[in-house]
């Protein structure tokens, strides 16, 4: 048993050290460990990928990605940012709140943290710099706002978790709504406190005022996209549609919005098709490799052994969840989010099942931990993409160190951990909507 675990760890480490693709590192580890410790398991490398790629449930991945791509290319990003900026510029913290609000809404379109950080950052950073906002808190708010992409529906990470943990994606989406809103509120509190203690970080735009008519016109522009997001979530919550059907509604609605905005062209559709297919290909290969590794691990009895060991420690459910949070906090400093999840889930799911932990509730907790990992040094994907964006906008010589991002994101990490603790101690915050869902049983 120890040899198997050691071999798997060494193989994964070699794969990661050499910069291999996550899916290939997982798949090759499954292949080598499987052949060495189980025997000729070649058949499973045909059957498991087929079962994965022909699962109707997984169709939500490309459909939600396509919905986001269609909305993105209908010009929603600029509309969102300028509209929120007009409504929020007088608040203490002004555009910093706009970053969070726009990221929150954009998250509900894209389902991806990196895409949210880059897209909103691309629109926001020039405005923030022009108005002399403190660079550290500006970048921190954008990095933190971006993490909402994987917590708020239609989070791709939640879909992958739902499939691996065999829990309803619709229930996961609904469970993530309130924690997502609490997270946005927590980020707003961080900004207010920061601005109260150091007002110079966010200059007030007191001399600029926008007529109500202009503000309302902005809202009208983003209303169709907001209505679509609510429709998708509402049909899942109301039991009118499954997650699969809701994702299909989402695509059709986004397509109609793009048509009405006269943004549909062959080039626009081609870009949407190719980007959707590429992202889907990436997710599918990771899923295939993760299921192969899960099979090899289960066959060698490692998850069962870990479960037996942890159960023998006599931990309570709360202690177990807190312990897992600490492990994820550590892993998240070094690992990419999807890799962290698909590598560890096969090991901990049997353990969570044996302890009777609610997997929907744990899914929300896990995603918050992954969010934290996106903005904690040394490896934080959102920090990297924002630093890259900052260099692209300002030029490599003009821009500062990535340490600015580490410092800027730190207060938001504390806020995230506070929200995490809240969700752990008060599970109903995540679960009460799920329990009132139509058809929740």
């Amino acid at each position: 048993m120890n040899t198997v675990i050691l071999t798997i760890i060494v193989l994964l480490f070699i794969g990661f050290a050499l910069g291999m693709h996550v899916a290939i590192a997982l798949g090759m580890t499954a292949l080598v460990a499987g052949v060495v410790f189980i025997g000729p398991i070649w058949d499973f490398f045909g059957q498991i990928p087929w079962n994965t790629t022909s699962s109707a449930t997984l169709i939500v991945v490309p459909l939600f990605i396509l919905m986001g791509e269609l909305l993105l290319r209908s010009g929603i990003t600029e509309d969102l940012y300028t509209t929120f900026a007009k409504w929020m510029h007088r608040l203490p913290g002004g555009l910093l709140h706009t970053n969070i609000a726009a990221s929150g809404v954009f998250s509900a379109i894209s389902g991806s943290s990196v895409a949210t950080a880059v897209t909103i950052g691309g629109v926001a950073l020039p405005s923030l710099n022009k108005r002399s906002y403190d660079e550290r808190i500006s970048l921190g708010s954008l990095a933190a706002g971006g993490t909402l992409g994987i917590l708020l529906p239609p989070s791709i990470i939640l879909i992958v978790y739902g499939l691996m943990a065999e829990v309803s994606i619709g229930r996961l989406y609904i469970a993530a709504v309130v924690p997502g809103l609490i997270m946005m509120a927590a980020f707003a509190v961080v900004i207010v406190v920061r601005v109260a203690t150091r007002p110079e970080v966010a200059p007030r735009d007191s001399e600029i005022s926008y007529p109500l008519r202009e503000k309302l016109a902005g809202l009208v522009n983003i209303l169709p996209a907001l209505a679509l997001i609510l429709l998708v979530l509402g049909t899942i919550y109301g039991g009118i549609a499954t997650a699969i059907e809701a994702s299909a509604f989402g695509v059709t609605g986004a397509f109609v919005i793009a048509l009405l905005k006269r943004k549909v062209s062959l080039k626009m559709l081609s870009d949407c098709f190719i980007t959707t297919a590429s992202t889907t290909g990436m997710v599918m290969l990771i899923m295939i490799a993760a299921f192969l590794l899960q099979f090899v691990l289960a066959f060698t009895g490692i998850p069962a052994a870990i479960t037996r060991y942890v159960v023998s420690l006599g931990l309570t459910e709360l202690q177990l969840v807190l312990l897992l949070c600490l492990i994820y906090l550590f892993l998240g400093m070094f690992m990419e989010s999807m890799a962290m999840m698909v590598t560890t889930l096969p090991l901990i799911l049997p353990l969570l099942n044996s302890m009777g932990v609610d997997l929907v509730w744990f899914g929300v907790i896990l995603v918050i931990m992954i969010e934290v990992s996106l903005i904690t040094p040394p490896v934080g994907m959102n920090l990297f993409v924002l630093q890259s964006l900052r260099r692209r906008l300002a030029g490599p010589r003009a821009s500062g160190s990535i340490v600015d991002l580490y410092v800027g994101a730190f207060p938001f990490v504390i806020a995230m951990l506070a929200v995490l603790l809240l969700i752990i101690l008060l599970p109903d915050l995540a679960m009460f909507l799920v329990e009132t869902m139509k058809g929740s049983g």
Binding site: G19, G27, G46, E245, V251, T275
Partner: protein, 185 residues
């Protein structure tokens, strides 16, 4: 880069892109069909009842036909914790090694996918719970075509990486992947 290697890469990228385009189109068509089907059912009208099956086939084709393009545009996520610590030459070597491993993994998936097609065809298996008698080997073969292209794409990219390494242009190896239109997840 050797002209023949460059031509191979251009050709392979073009085929991968065309396959990805078809995948994306199928996803859109599926969504439109499902919306019409579910809406009709909700309003008490006729519905086909095969939406899940179409979804399954679309993903079997779309999900695998997109693998090659995802590789060519660098969408497949890498663990790049240590890569920034290496020099460009070493990064080129690591990149080439990772592409070689991709070829091996893709080849295993492809071989096993075709074996599965053969087995399904031999026992004349039909798609379960289908309204029409469709041989299971058909969607499985479409899926296997996607894996095959994934293997071809990774093999071509490995060849190009090796050519660059051996012609003292190792620093260009990382640029074989080119970005997709728009932002990626």
């Amino acid at each position: 880069m050797q002209p023949i290697a460059r031509k191979l890469l251009v050709l392979s990228n073009a085929v991968s892109t065309a396959m990805a385009w078809i995948s994306g189109l199928l996803f859109l068509l599926l969504a439109l069909y499902m919306t019409a089907d579910v809406t009709s059912r909700s309003l008490g009208g006729p519905f086909t009842g095969v939406a899940d099956q179409f979804a399954s086939f679309t993903l079997a084709l779309g999900g695998t036909w997109a693998l090659a393009r995802a590789l060519s545009d660098g969408s497949h996520v890498r663990i790049d914790l240590f890569l920034p610590l290496y020099g460009r030459r070493l990064r080129g070597l690591a990149y080439t090694w990772s592409m070689l491993m991709t070829v091996v993994f893709a080849a295993v998936l492809t071989q096993q996918a075709w074996i599965l097609v053969g087995k399904s065809a031999a026992r004349k298996a039909l798609v379960p719970q289908s309204l029409v008698d469709l041989p299971l080997a058909v969607p499985q073969a479409l899926s296997a075509v996607g894996y095959t292209m994934f293997t071809v794409q990774s093999a071509v990219m490995t060849i190009v990486a090796l050519v660059l390494l051996f012609s003292d242009h190792g620093e260009l190896v990382e640029e074989i992947e080119h970005p997709a239109p728009g932002e990626k997840a």
